[in-house]
């Protein structure tokens, strides 16, 4: 056994190990199965995800550091891991029919989805810059390939290349910031770093490090002005991957953001709060206003997703335990409504219809009432209308901001969500009011029906009965505080 690593460390990363093994099994089964039966790989993948979820159960209330501070196994990480795994499972279910239509081979596809999920899990658990970086890269490289997975599609290729080039560029910036943090503190462990920086005079080099890390993370969460890749990549990537990217990657990046800034740089709280406050305002506003005129729904949802990053930042700026709770709650809720919306788009994809344009939603109510109703719910939830989950999430974010005396942030948030309803409701108008779109009947496969059912149920139940989620998120946010971050949790 390598020095510094004990057997219990291996036990504590059991979920990650299960997922890794599952990913390898997918690769092996892919080779063993005859080509026409490879659709079954989806079930193998789901099994792997299910097993990973089950293996999380023993760690419900664990609160330890693994391998001398490389990873933390705590409720905060657990909360995010559940989000990632659920999102991955939904993505897989969404992909079954999509891959058939596009005629792509499922083997590496599902393998890469599991790899990306693994990366996310490491990001959420990472309390060391090295681990976080490894997780980030595992996730990012998987997504670069997945974005370009539909090989005959130029849009898909273009998305992949753009994402890769810009991702590499922003990673450079992030790494530079991280190296400055290391150089100034002499450690890569965030918790040790926090202790080292505590009580120190503000150092200009540290400010530079903060700025660079904010820019790098800002790219990952697609905050304005680091967002420009998002609309192109979201539009070009295969729809299920877009969904996973906008939910999983975003949530993982927020987990990373919280770890780095709240655990590692609480002493610089004043500086990064100011930066994130500005980013939140610009991101919400630009995202929503740009979404107003989009006619491609994937692109519109890309801008909506940008705007949502702005809302979520509000909770981080507030920085109170209520703010962090709101952030976690919102990311959880957002996963369902966003994945659900993309699932409807996947359902509209037919051999003869791309299903991404606003007009493709015309008269959906008459052709597929359930899909239309589901989409209506997701749009209302994204827009923050009660009694859907989205309202609860927004209410908590905005009230956290007011509670922490960021009144203007809340005002801008409320105004933005008022603006955003305009483009969400436009889809509703097309579905319920406009004439039926051309093309063959949109078919709902059983897997898609499951996805829609789950997302609809979550959007409604979490709106009507959000209590349990709030309690879990609250407990998760508090594990951060217990790790010596109480000072930054005002």
């Amino acid at each position: 056994m390598p020095p510094g690593i004990s057997a219990s460390d291996f036990y504590n990363i059991l979920p990650e190990l299960v997922l890794t093994s599952g990913a390898l099994v997918v690769l092996i089964v892919d080779v063993l199965l005859p080509k026409e039966r490879r659709g079954a790989l989806a079930w193998v993948t789901l099994l792997a995800i299910g097993a990973t979820l089950a293996s999380l159960v023993p760690f419900r209330s664990t609160h330890v550091e693994v391998a001398q501070g490389l990873l933390a196994v705590d409720q905060f990480a657990l909360f995010f891991k559940v989000v990632f795994l659920v999102a991955a499972a939904i993505t897989v279910l969404m992909s079954v029919r999509y891959l058939e239509i596009e005629g792509a081979s499922p083997g590496e596809y599902y393998f890469l989805i599991l790899c990306a999920t693994l990366g996310m899990m490491i990001m959420a658990g990472g309390i060391d810059l090295i681990t976080i970086f490894i997780g980030l890269e595992t996730m990012a490289v998987s997504f670069y390939i997945l974005a370009g997975f539909i090989k005959p599609s130029h849009r898909s290729n273009e998305a992949a290349v753009k994402y890769f080039l810009l991702g590499a560029f922003s990673l450079g910036i992030l790494l530079y910031g991280m190296s400055l943090m290391y150089g100034l503190s002499g450690t890569t462990n965030l918790r040790v770093m926090a202790a080292a920086f505590a009580g120190q005079e503000t150092d200009a080099r540290l400010v530079l490090a903060v700025i660079l890390v904010v820019a790098g993370v800002g790219f990952k969460i697609a905050a304005v002005p680091f967002h420009m890749w998002a609309p192109d990549v979201y539009e070009g990537a295969p729809t299920p991957i877009t969904a996973f990217l906008s939910v999983g990657s975003k949530a993982a990046s927020f987990a990373m953001l919280i770890r780095i800034f709240l655990e590692g740089l609480p002493s610089m709280g004043h500086d990064w709060r100011l930066l994130f406050e500005a980013l939140a305002i610009i991101t919400m506003t630009v995202g929503n206003i740009a979404a107003l005129t989009q006619s491609n729904v994937k692109r519109m949802l890309a801008y909506s997703s940008i705007a949502h990053a702005g809302y979520v930042l509000i909770g981080i700026v507030a920085g109170t335990s209520r703010g962090i709770t709101a952030t976690l709650v919102y990311l959880f809720i957002y996963a369902f409504m966003q994945l659900g919306a993309f699932a409807v788009i996947v359902g509209l994809r037919r051999a003869d219809v791309a299903g991404e344009e606003l007009k493709d939603f015309g008269g959906l109510h008459a052709r597929n009432p359930f899909a239309a109703f589901a989409m209506l719910l997701f749009m209302l939830s994204l827009g923050g209308i009660p009694p859907t989950a989205g309202f609860m999430g927004k209410f908590w974010l905005f009230s956290a901001a007011i509670d922490a005396h960021y009144n203007w942030l809340a005002v801008i948030g409320v105004l933005n969500s008022a603006v955003s309803l305009y483009y969400y409701v436009r889809i509703v108008v097309f579905m319920y009011v406009k004439k039926e779109a051309l093309g063959s009947e949109p078919a709902t496969s059983p897997t898609l029906a499951v996805v829609l059912g789950v997302a609809v149920a979550a959007t409604l139940v979490l709106g009507v009965y959000p209590r349990l989620l709030f309690e879990l998120a609250d407990a998760s946010a508090r594990t951060l505080g217990a790790a010596g971050v109480t000072t930054s949790l005002r």
Binding site: H154, V286, A418, L421, F470
Partner: protein
């Protein structure tokens, strides 16, 4: 038990939305009407249980479940019945039931699926409205608040084949968003200030603080809430959506845009009377906006030619009265007017619906005339409604309007009172202009072609209406008669002391407003009596003026209009407010979004690539080169620029 009140219409909605198109019209109507009638019955029972309690403890709370619980904050999904919400649920379910019954006949020409869709929306609307008025805290109220907005949007755009209908729906939606943003901010600020969103918990905290002399937090909260109220209840500057909302089916106009939903803003202020009474500055604004809206809408109503638009502006104007009452602290008077107005405005709208129904979809007053002989029941009931709204003694509108005007005068707001009186004159004039133009005089010839170009889609087929005009089917006429009876009798629950009454209604509501700062006014029967004589005189003069210009000397009205073409155009074009909004708000936003962000920020290079698919596409390497030399570099530059900007900020700081 309280839960059952909104739950029944909600079930009606679910059943009709899922199976309505398959069960046929009769069953769909029975389900919807049954749900409403059941809800009305439960409401009566609940109110009875409330009334038998001693006045001080008149409240029934139904904690359905704990909604949010986080840290020290909990908010339940709780319903609460007190005198104020009791009045509201009776109005909503009572008038609502009648309008449901009326709709069974009015919408009968729709297809089965459309018919079921209509009734499912109507039920859903009622369910949300009941949640709004029964909600024990701001969050539950907000559920209803947004819900009724959504249903209203669906119902305005019901005849979506009409472009104007779908535009009107959109306009209502957008304008209401502005109001709702204000409302939500008010709620958030109240939450922060009081640490709770429960009305019952906020009231004692607010009652304990001194009324703000300067503009402070409470003033800000109430002002934000009032923005929400102005949006929902169509007050200046957010009233513009209501007249357009008349594009929906007429029973919808009656239910939503006259009798119930639009009063939500008034109700909300009443619900938070304690809070508002501690912010005199906001109250002054409420009163001023209310009376200004009343006057402005009254003047516009004078010249409109669409029968429903006249009534729509009349609604805006009457809502202005209610806000005036709230603003001067006469909360129970405002709610009293809300309650009587629900009767006669529903009657007037449904009466106009009967006219439109008979005329085959015609809504233009200039193409009507002489209908009193063809539609005797409609005429008589409509006349009762018109007399009631004009404030003729003995009818419902007289008691409630007079109470508002008396309270305004007695509290020293002489100017507000005078404007209110002027509006009262205008009300009588425009109502009787409508009555005389539609029902008296000679029918324009040839009637057979009337309205061919204005027919609502559902009424497109039957032209036999035009050939032989007759009263509406019994389901409609009986509703009109019932509402006419209500318009006569509803006022007698609030007879003022001057007529040896005891204002039972006001005393019943009192517990709901306890804790509010009220400037007691000395009982003064002589003053009240004098004011009543004045307002009766004003109402009668209004009717007389209407008769002179629009019955006896129709030319005279045109002559006056020609003498003042500027005023006439100003009023016909509704003070050009829509145009002003378009130029100052709509266009700039459109330009920013489309020209700046669409063309400059969102470069959408990918568009070119998509268009290229299907044409001859160059080699991948060439494509890559193009991307590298093009957008990707731009994007990277944007990231870099972001970093530099932030850095620059720090260096210059």
């Amino acid at each position: 038990m309280l839960l059952l009140i909104p739950l029944l219409p909600l079930l009606g909605f679910l059943v009709n939305a899922s199976f309505g198109r398959r069960v046929g019209k009769a069953a769909a109507a029975a389900i919807a009407c049954g749900a409403m009638a059941g809800s009305f019955a439960v409401s009566l029972l609940a109110v009875w249980r409330l009334v038998v309690l001693p006045p001080a403890s008149r409240a029934i709370v139904d904690q359905v479940f704990t909604w949010i619980s986080s840290g020290d904050f909990t908010a339940g999904f709780a319903l609460r019945l007190d005198p104020l919400s009791a009045v509201m649920i009776l109005v909503v379910t009572g008038i609502g039931s009648l309008i449901h019954v009326y709709s069974t006949a009015y919408m009968h020409e729709e297809s089965d699926a459309e018919y079921a869709r209509y009734f499912s929306y109507l039920n859903l609307f009622a369910a949300f409205m009941l949640v709004l008025v029964l909600g024990a805290n701001f969050l539950v109220m907000f559920v209803g608040w947004e819900g009724v907005g959504l249903c209203s949007y669906l119902l305005i755009g019901f005849w979506y084949q009409k472009q104007s209908a779908s535009d009107a729906g959109k306009k209502a939606f957008i304008v209401n968003r502005i109001g709702d943003a204000g409302f939500l901010l008010g709620v958030l600020l109240a939450f922060k200030t009081f640490g709770t969103v429960d009305f019952q918990e906020i009231a004692p905290i607010a009652a304990a603080i001194r009324p703000e002399t300067a503009f402070g937090t409470v003033s800000l909260i109430t002002l934000l809430l009032f923005v929400g109220a102005a949006g929902k209840s169509a007050q200046i500057p957010l009233y513009i959506w209501l007249p357009d909302a008349m594009e929906g089916p007429t029973p919808v106009s009656a239910l939503i845009h006259a009798a119930t939903m639009v009063t939500a803003g008034v109700y909300m202020i009443g619900r938070n009377a304690v809070l508002f009474s501690h912010a005199p500055q906001t109250l002054a604004i409420v009163a001023a906006i209310g009376v200004a809206t009343a006057l402005m809408a009254g003047t516009i109503g004078l010249v409109q030619n669409d029968i429903k638009r006249v009534l729509a502006y009349s609604t805006v104007s009457q809502l202005g009265y209610m806000f005036l009452a709230m603003g001067v602290g006469a909360y129970s008077a405002g709610i009293f007017h809300l309650y009587t107005h629900a009767f006669f405005k529903a009657l007037l709208f449904l009466g106009s619906g009967a006219v439109i129904h008979a005329m085959g979809g015609e809504q233009d007053l200039r193409r009507m005339g002489g209908l009193k002989n063809d539609l005797p029941i409609t005429y008589r009931t409509f006349l009762v409604g018109a007399l009631a709204i004009a404030g003729v003694p003995g009818l419902a509108g007289f008691f409630s309007k007079d109470e508002i005007l008396f309270d305004t005068y007695a509290r020293g707001h002489t100017l507000l009172w005078a404007v209110g009186m002027l509006t009262s004159l205008l009300t009588a004039i425009y109502m009787f202009r409508l009555v005389f133009l539609a029902f008296h005089g000679d029918p324009p010839a040839p009637r057979a072609t009337a309205g061919a170009g204005h027919v609502a889609p559902s009424h497109a087929a039957p032209s036999h209406h035009a050939a032989h005009l007759h009263d509406a089917p019994p389901a409609m006429t009986w509703v009109l008669i019932a509402l006419a009876a209500g318009s006569v009798l509803a006022g007698y629950v609030g007879v003022p002391p001057v007529f040896a009454g005891s204002n039972w209604f006001g005393r019943f509501l009192e517990p709901s407003f306890s804790g509010a700062v009220v400037h007691e006014i000395p009982e003064s029967p002589s003053l009240e009596g004098t004011l009543m004589v004045v307002s009766t005189f004003v109402a009668m003069s209004g009717i007389g003026i209407g008769m002179y210009f629009f019955k006896n000397h129709p030319r005279a009205a045109d002559a006056v209009a020609e003498r003042f073409p500027g005023v006439r155009n100003l009023l016909l074009n509704k003070y050009y407010v829509d145009e002003m909004y378009d130029a100052s708000i709509v266009q700039p936003i459109r330009i920013v979004s489309e020209d700046v962000l669409w063309k400059a920020v969102d470069v959408r290079v990918i568009d070119g690539a998509v268009n290229g698919v299907g044409e001859t596409v160059g080699s991948l390497s060439e494509r890559l080169r193009r991307m590298q030399s093009g957008s990707v570099r731009t994007y990277a530059a944007s990231v870099f620029l972001g970093v530099v900007l932030i850095l620059g900020y720090y260096l210059w700081r």
